[in-house]
Amino acid sequence: MILDIKRALLVSLVGLGTAAHAAEVAVKVGVSPIIDMAQTYAAVGNGYFRQEGLDVEAIAGGNIVALLPGLPAGQFQFIAAPIVTVLQGVASGIKFRIIGPGSAIVAPSPDISPIVARADGPIRNPKDLEGRTLAVPSLNGNLWLYSRAYLEKKGVDLAKVRILEVPFPQQFDALVSGRIDAASMTEPFATRATESGKGRIVGYPYTETQPVFVSVVLVAMADWAQQNPDTVRRFVRAYLRGQAYANLHKKDAEGVKLISSYTKLDPAVVGKIAVPDFPQTVDIKAIEETARLMVRHGLLKSAPDIKALVHVP
């Protein structure tokens, strides 16, 4: 009897051992060193992925949108990407599936992306933008869409506003030198603009248009996710722990240390800027609202079924 128990224990120990070994799965995740990716960096740095038996390699790029085609190409298995781009990809026949939340911009204001005008200029509220130029970082992107939606909500005639593309790092100089009249900025540039005394905030296109805006979502390819449910589950679990960590430590010393370590932002700056939210669930209603706006502003012909896109592992 004791021999049987010993044998059983031995077998189960060996079984566990091999199971643990077989459980080490290598996956790659696309990242970009921006604030919205804090959860991924936290999950890697704090060992959450390792604890789930995942060997995660981060593939970095300067621009997430440029990196995104790597997902359907199989160069990596997961990536947190801007919702507008993901939905456009889906509309083009790319089988993205939303498997987790990313960053969200949640009311009340202030949030991370104000529209900033010159402090000594004529623009004080959205209506003043008629007949003027507004810069957005990327035409047809998240902020372009919501800047338009915001202006429309405030009764501005969009036909009278000239919207140009100026990348974030160049917006402040362009504003101050008068080449543009206002810019939809992000952090840390927005805080720098206001702190310098030369920028004045006109409004917040995200939170003043929609109480919750799901900015970035975690995606994987439909086929791969279906064939690897266990890996997906483990990845998402660790990833959500990263979300919790990032959300909890948003404004304290630990969070500042994390964010400044990979973005290379000055820690003093990180302490001052607004940061997004890192929720635990995917807000389908919020995404449906975004899809509706995308149709309205010509980015999509019709809104896709968001519920069908969300793949809960």
């Binding site: 790029g61 300067g62 974030f168 160049q170 100089d173 540039f189 973005t263 290379k264």
Partner: protein, 257 residues
């Protein structure tokens, strides 16, 4: 050579220094005030911070390694192709139309298909760099071979020198100066392409460093990286010029007495 260096060093360096002083003055006096225009003193100061210097040099090393590999592959292919196309009408007719279509495709348009088939790491970047480095040296070689002095070719023919020997003994030496100039242009193209590819994709190299610093609103670091690039490119060019002087001592075009 020492004389040439010394002379160039004096007035040329003087000009660069003068411009640097003007730049510093423009910032100090507040004449030009912009994020994009930090004072050179702020930039230079970064080079004296050991940690930052280490990071910069490390990234530079990565970039240069990728650049070198791409350059070697691309330029060797370029010279060989240029010679073949320069000698043979048929080769030219076959390859040129396709080449003219391919040569104008810019790096950002090449990256998506490259990512698809070659991945996101060094292999992809090196391939793109090789592609970019191919063109300048191929074109210069082609033009050089086609433009060779008639007398030389006539003589070679009269003596019925076989093609291979003709290439080695007559064509290559005559075309060498322009080929070397093409190599210098290809080296520059290789460096630029490496940086641009790194700016689009990847965590390593000066290109990625520049993008990271721009997004962190740290312009002095961006300029420090640009200076590293500038000095590296300068050094590479100087190195190639001195190689040229050694291999082509008869080349009056280099202005040696």
């Amino acid at each position: 050579m020492k004389q040439a260096f010394g002379q160039a060093g004096a007035s040329g360096a003087g000009l660069v220094l003068l411009l640097a002083i003007a730049w510093e003055a423009s910032v100090r006096t507040g004449w030009i005030a912009a994020d994009a225009w930090p004072a050179p003193s702020e930039v230079v100061r970064l080079f004296f911070e050991p940690r930052r210097l280490t990071v910069l040099l490390h990234e530079a090393g990565g970039s240069l390694s990728r650049m070198l590999q791409g350059f070697l592959i691309g330029s060797l292919a370029g010279i060989a192709t240029g010679i073949v196309m320069g000698i043979s009408r048929r080769a030219f007719a076959t390859l040129d139309p396709s080449f003219q279509l391919l040569r104008v495709i810019p790096v950002p348009a090449l990256v998506p298909p490259a990512i698809l088939f070659l991945g996101l790491d060094d292999a992809m970047k090196i391939t793109i760099v090789a592609f970019a480095a191919f063109w300048p040296v191929m074109l210069n070689t082609l033009h050089a071979v086609r433009g060779i002095d008639e007398a030389l070719i006539e003589t070679a023919r009269t003596f019925k020198i076989p093609v291979a020997r003709r290439v080695r003994a007559v064509i290559l030496p005559a075309a060498a100066p322009l080929i070397m100039a093409g190599l210098r242009l290809s080296a520059a193209s290789a460096l630029i392409t490496t940086i641009v590819a790194e700016m689009i994709v990847g965590a390593g190299g000066i290109g990625a460093y520049i993008v990271l610093m721009e997004q962190a609103a740290r312009m002095p670091e961006v300029y420090a990286a640009v200076i590293v690039l500038s000095v590296a490119g300068y050094a590479i060019n100087r190195g190639m010029l001195s190689l040229e002087r050694r291999w082509l001592p008869w080349n009056a075009a280099l202005g040696q007495a």
